[in-house]
Symmetry: C2
Subunit: 233 residues, 2 copies
Amino acid sequence: MEHLHDRRAPTRIADIARDTGTPRSTMYELVNTLVEARWLELRDGDGTVYFGPAMHYYGSDYLDSVDLIRKARVEVAHIAELVGETAQFCTLDGDKYLVVLNEPGRRMFRISSEIGIKVPIPWTASGRLLVDHMDADEIRRFIPSEDFTLPDGRRIAEDEFLEDMHRARTQGYVRTTALVDRFTTCLAAPVRDPAGRCIATICFVVPADTTEEAQQVMIDTLKASAERLSPGR
Amino acid sequence: MEHLHDRRAPTRIADIARDTGTPRSTMYELVNTLVEARWLELRDGDGTVYFGPAMHYYGSDYLDSVDLIRKARVEVAHIAELVGETAQFCTLDGDKYLVVLNEPGRRMFRISSEIGIKVPIPWTASGRLLVDHMDADEIRRFIPSEDFTLPDGRRIAEDEFLEDMHRARTQGYVRTTALVDRFTTCLAAPVRDPAGRCIATICFVVPADTTEEAQQVMIDTLKASAERLSPGR
DNA sequence: ACCGTTTGTCCGAAATATCGGACGTCGGTC
DNA sequence: GACCGACGTCCGATATTTCGGACAAACGGT
């Protein structure tokens, strides 16, 4: 299952066996068992398998069972529809950033969601909010050093990151441009627990050439949503 | 996992063991393994377990991988936001009706979704569309006789069902009131394949006292969405 | 038509998980 | 303070699954 999630594509059984180092005969038995239970599904008739409907049912049960996520679903759907851009709800998972909810905007430009994919904290706007309760030392210990290197090889200076973080805390939102992707801007606002600690973020992913006025509207929208999601406020 | 899905609530390990007839020690080992993999999650500190985040990630991958469902997500989110009522996307699973997508409306009146729960076809509005390619004989063979009995004991006459079905086909939508629940009206429109066969439905679940004008707007909305979802049209 | 590769199934030996019971701990009740 | 039931862990015997190799069928390129 993990392998399929990483590949994010229907995969042939023999390939799964080879790439995970599992004996072929074992993988065939395993997959057949899981297909019967509808955890997996045979696709296309070309012998590939991928996740089946049972995963969706169980996943929905999970979403409904977590209070904050259930509320966030409503907010994310609402603001994505309102603004027409891709909206997300994100948290930390260990020392990585994680997209929990993704609602694509009307713009059809990125189909694949990144739900469940872990990303280095410094690569993201939300990351600057999610660690803003730590001081410089704690952050250095918490975020692996290599995570400050972007996919294109550029390196984010540590004090630049800390500066972003402090500005974000005073402004109540954060904006980053051309971090992971040259043409994308991210806008994020913090969801905070009663102690003021950022436990999640809600954000927009928009083209970098979006007008400043439009971005201001989005920032206000995000702040309002984030406030509604912050427990005990 | 199936047991948790049926119960739809965090459950204590010992209860799962008892109710599924599994030895207690086995269930403890099993649950601990799955908790480590984040397929399950310990809740509340009261020793209950329920689905974990991994199920959500895998479920999202499934939704993204099925073309019709991916498109339906956009439609359902859109019309739920537009109208402010609960919208759903449904299909058949064997001889049962199944909610695949559920987007709650602004009305907060039913929190729990029914995603992945199977329901007898005659209990639903959509059911009258999903079998409308069959003749009376085929339907009699396809739908178990006991499924024509509603939860409150009333029985739906077979020719009444057939009549509903034919009316639905000519009108392009179906409306049912007080079927499963005395105060609820369902409005549904068919998603059809190029051969004209109903492969899914998109529907609203609204209070029975919703005005006729509002319902007409919803019906038009549903028909437009269903048309957009119908492949090869 | 040929041959090398991939696919899916089958088998017995070896590795692993399950089972059922025993046991210590924890909270409530009388 | 003694008793009771529920929780969680541990253990050896037993049942199940995995493994690796063998094999036939299907496929693709020359």
